[in-house]
């Protein structure tokens, strides 16, 4: 196939227009003409951290002023002399100490007794519902972030990314969303002298037919080129991320924010929360270890972002909380209500938001913390106030929004 362009091969590849394949890949063109830095201002970058497995919100933001908590958690509780007290009633787990300065500065806040109203205690259903944004309903094929992105600004190469090997459900249905596990390793593995020729050949091979596989191939070439050109991934601005998926993921998100590539939404996962046994106590054990990783990763992310934290809102979620009463194996079974943490310049931090239902037997939902704040209200408020979303009924169909007042409106 002839090409009329006389520019050099490497240049063509950068544009995803490998010789011989250009005519087959016209949809790449808008993707490389991305916004100048600043053009995407007016919307925060939203970072969604999914704590997979069912995070125990009662261990993270501890209702230590409630006697029922201490009764239900004889082996695994955070004692009054260990908790990082917030307001005499709630306190942070001591392993979240890295978040204390951010909490005190009002950059980190929490919403307690939040979650998805669907009663399921299945990991897989609960995650699926939560990420679709339609609890109890799987009739729509797309995720809540995909629906929001379809309605918001676009045409930047790194508009939406799941730092993962598979695209999270919340982003499915939004074609430009990328799943990339490692920005540093996102390049074709061929010897330097042969890289262009191999890339060209592959691009041509995937030039037809027009199906999902060809589209992903084209997107891959465009993304490789943009990454190499635009995103330095070395400067961490002194931040020390913990080892693990969350630290790795947030470090890469920070690189994209600093690179001004138009990042709108990023999803990062942290697993390991399904502690049916051997949670340990406040000073030692698996729960303390997970919370240490969570707290230090968020703190490192804030440090890495520096003044760019004003353009970012991070929110954590988990498919459900854990049962109030610990089980006989020193762990907790699947529960319901949970805590959501928020980090960012627009967060009304330093406080536990929401309506606390209490832990008395009649206040529980099948033995679990009741839900008084629908998680969609937290996410919806972030979208409306920080990302200029003006019709939440498109993002969360069938849900009537209620304000939580956990973020302030973005100025500009």
């Amino acid at each position: 196939m002839a090409t009329t362009c006389t520019c050099d091969r490497r240049d063509l590849l950068r544009r995803g227009l490998a010789a011989g394949a250009g005519a087959s890949l016209p949809f790449l063109l808008p993707r490389v003409a991305f916004a100048a830095p600043g053009e995407e201002a007016g919307r925060d970058t939203l970072v969604c951290v999914f704590l997979r497995g069912g995070m125990d919100g009662l261990s993270a933001v501890v209702p230590h002023g409630d006697a029922a908590y201490h009764d239900a958690r004889a082996r695994t509780r955070v004692r009054d002399d260990q908790v990082l007290d917030i307001d005499g009633y709630f306190g942070l787990h001591p392993a979240l100490a890295p978040l204390q300065p951010l909490w005190d500065d009002g950059l980190v806040g929490a919403v307690h007794a939040a979650g998805s109203p669907d009663p399921t205690r299945s990991h897989f259903d609960a995650m699926d519902y939560m990420e679709r944004g339609t609890p109890g309903d799987t009739s729509r094929p797309d995720g809540w972030l995909a629906r929001h992105l379809l309605r918001s600004a676009g045409a930047t190469p790194f508009e939406a990314i799941g730092v993962a090997r598979s695209l999270p459900m919340s982003l499915r249905g939004y074609a430009p969303a990328l799943a990339i596990a490692s920005l540093e390793e996102f390049h074709l593995d061929a010897p330097d002298g042969d890289l262009d020729a191999v890339s060209e050949a592959l691009a041509a091979i995937y030039g037809e037919p027009d199906d999902a596989l060809s589209a992903e191939a084209a997107r891959t070439f465009a993304t490789v080129a943009e990454l190499a050109e635009r995103v330095p991934t070395t400067d961490r601005r002194g931040a020390e991320y913990p080892r693990g998926d969350l630290g790795d993921g947030l470090r890469q998100v920070a690189s994209l924010v600093h690179a001004d590539v138009g990042l709108q939404v990023a999803c990062v996962d942290m697993g390991g929360w399904d502690l049916h046994e051997s949670m340990g106590d406040a000073s030692d054990g698996r729960m303390a270890g997970l919370l240490t990783e969570l707290g230090s990763a968020l703190a490192a992310f804030a440090q890495d972002l520096g003044d760019r934290l004003g353009d970012v809102t991070l929110v954590t979620m988990s498919e459900f909380g854990r049962r109030v009463r610990e089980n006989g194996s020193g762990g907790t079974d699947h529960g319901h209500g949970n805590v959501m943490l928020l980090l960012g310049g627009g967060v009304r931090g330093g406080a536990v938001h929401g309506t606390w239902p209490g832990l008395s037997p009649d206040a529980l939902d099948r033995g679990d913390l009741a839900i008084t704040t629908d998680y969609r209200d937290v996410l919806g408020e972030v979208l409306a106030r920080r990302r200029a979303e003006d019709d939440l009924s498109e993002v969360f169909p069938g849900h009537t929004p209620t304000s939580v007042e956990v973020v302030s409106s973005r100025v500009g």
């Binding site: 011989g20 808008p30 916004a35 053009e39 201002a41 951010l102 005190d104 500065d105 950059l107 897989f124 379809l150 600004a153 676009g154 090997r165 598979s166 695209l167 499915r172 074609a175 430009p176 990328l178 799943a179 990339i180 596990a181 996102f186 390049h187 074709l188 593995d189 060209e200 050949a201 592959l202 041509a204 091979i205 199906d211 999902a212 596989l213 060809s214 589209a215 992903e216 993304t223 046994e277 760019r308 004003g310 089980n327 006989g328 194996s329 762990g331 079974d333 310049g345 627009g346 009304r348 931090g349 330093g350 406080a351 929401g354 606390w356 008395s360 007042e405 302030s408 100025v411 500009g412």
Partner: protein
């Protein structure tokens, strides 16, 4: 008494206020492209279709079609070949595979010997290394390909995560004594054996469950994942009852074997969906419940759908699922007749080109196409560099056997495996495996692939017929010729590097991404 509190509104502190000053100037966002502009074309990815039933069977019912497997199926006829595969004991195993497995000395260790090896910090890694190596070697080299596919199917169905403490050595026992013996046997036997498998007892915590204070982890996944499925008609009370019925199903830690502990078992009447017990049967109550669940119609439907998804398409028809479930129930949960039904339907026969290979299927397919296998030199002593590189590669693909971190097993639909990052990882895995990348994975002999072809066109065609067993489109063929920088009738530049990269391009083409 419920304490109601609402935190102060507008509590953003001085830090946040200071940050707001750094916000960039607001500009109007760019107009949003239309939905159509943002959707990739075509929906489901499509691979090579074929009307040749033997070729379709060779691709779908093995870890990678080869010309010799295709010839074997064509000679026997698909149905006769299938019957042989469904009776794996009738197939003599490949002697080269057996001699390689012989080098893996931890596979046959007794539970107590495995436990002792596990306690040795220096040596313990040999156990998972050898289990993973044996699994990959068998997928590549076994003549009992359908049996290996079912071993994988059940390993996913009863997924345990090797990273969970002692599971790392208990899985060797489960693979050997639970999954493999029952892979084409009866599901009710398999279910009971798995419920008593130390790996499962530890992974889903039933070993710790106490009758007066049960741990629900296994009970929930037993219903949701292993038997009736999430829409199977149970509720939270049923889960709690299952946990009580199976309390006391535990583990003798000294011998690393199943043990029923009466003092941990909850006696008393229990009801689980349409099943009940007076609670005096002890261990037998649990076995009765498991067998009841194995024969439950909802279990039949759940398993039939998963089997159809594995072997036919990501979205099998309801009719195919229903007819397969019927055979499963009518044959007392026997797996072979269920599979025979599924794999002799028109829906199976007409399903070529629709299943996107999962990453390990791509990798094993490449080994098989090249007529080679995983290098395991020195693996017996836990020192194989080549194997370590292989594991890193497959981990990057997210598909290392027994490494899915949740109890639902690796996903089995294209959408879970086809995305930007995954595609690049696949290409790079093949680049490395064939020795075309910057860090080759190990010696792979590529000399046979091109036959004695002299011209570039003939060399490409020879490689395509051996590796892909299809024909390239003219665009694809021209792309390979353009890479070689020659015309079809010019001499094939047969230097080693060019030969390897030519093979990598073919294995990285669309045709090799499907099974």
């Amino acid at each position: 008494m419920a304490l109601t509190r609402r935190a102060l509104l507008g509590g953003a502190g001085a830090g946040a206020a200071a940050l707001l000053a750094y916000q960039r100037l607001p500009l109007a966002p760019a107009p949003a492209p239309s939905v159509a502009e943002r959707l990739p074309g075509g929906g489901q990815p499509t691979g090579p279709r074929t009307d040749d039933d033997a070729l379709h069977a060779a691709r779908r019912l093995s870890y990678g079609a080869t010309p010799s497997l295709h010839a074997e199926i064509a000679a026997l006829g698909v149905d006769a070949w299938l019957d042989r595969q469904l009776d794996p004991a009738s197939i003599e195993e490949d002697p080269q595979l057996l001699s390689m497995l012989d080098q893996l000395d931890t596979l046959d260790l007794s539970p107590t010997d495995l436990r002792e090896l596990f306690s040795d910090q220096e040596q313990r890694r040999r156990i998972p290394q050898q289990l993973i190596a044996a699994t990959v070697l068998r997928r590549i080299g076994s003549r009992r390909q359908l049996n290996e596919l079912m071993v994988e199917f059940w390993s996913d169905h009863f997924s345990v995560f090797l990273g969970d403490g002692p599971v790392v050595f208990l899985k060797t026992i489960e693979d050997r004594e639970v999954i493999r013996p029952h892979a084409l046997g009866r599901f009710d036997d398999l279910l009971v054996a798995d419920a008593q498998s130390p790996a499962m007892l530890v992974y889903l915590d039933n070993a710790l469950s106490k009758g007066d204070d049960p741990n629900e982890n296994y009970a929930r996944e037993l219903l949701e994942l292993h038997t009736v499925g999430v829409t199977g008609g149970y509720d939270e009370d049923d889960i709690a009852a299952v946990a009580r019925v199976l309390s006391g199903w535990s583990l003798d830690r000294a011998t690393a074997t199943f043990a029923f502990r009466p003092f941990l078992h909850a006696d008393g009447p229990q009801e689980v969906m349409d099943w009940s017990t007076d609670g005096r049967g002890g261990q037998q109550d649990g076995e009765d419940l498991l067998r009841h669940l194995a024969h439950h119609p909802a279990t039949a439907t759940h398993l039939a759908r998963k089997l159809a998804r594995r072997f036919v398409s990501d979205h099998p028809s309801d009719e195919l699922v229903a007819s397969t479930a019927e055979v499963f129930l009518a044959s007392d949960t026997a797996i072979a007749p269920t599979l025979r039904h599924l794999l002799t339907t028109d829906e199976f026969r007409e399903s070529s080109g629709v299943k996107f290979r999962r990453p390990m299927e791509l990798v094993t397919g490449a080994f098989r196409a090249l007529g080679t296998t995983l290098p395991i030199e020195d693996l017996g002593r836990g020192r194989s560099q080549a194997f370590r590189q292989f594991v890193q590669r497959v981990e990057a693909l997210g598909h290392l056997p027994f490494s899915w971190p949740a109890p639902n097993g690796f996903p089995d639909v294209a959408g879970a495996w086809l995305n930007t990052g995954a595609l690049l990882s696949r290409w790079n895995a093949v680049q490395a495996l064939v020795g075309a990348g910057r860090r080759p994975l190990g010696p792979v002999d590529v000399t046979d692939v091109f036959g004695d072809a002299r011209s570039a066109g003939a060399a490409i065609d020879a490689a395509v017929s051996q590796l892909l067993m299809t024909e390239l489109t003219s665009t694809e063929r021209d792309a390979v010729l353009a890479y070689l920088g020659v015309g079809a009738n010019d001499a094939f530049p047969a230097d080693d590097r060019t030969a390897r990269q030519t093979i990598a391009l073919l294995l990285n083409s669309r045709h090799f991404q499907f099974r």
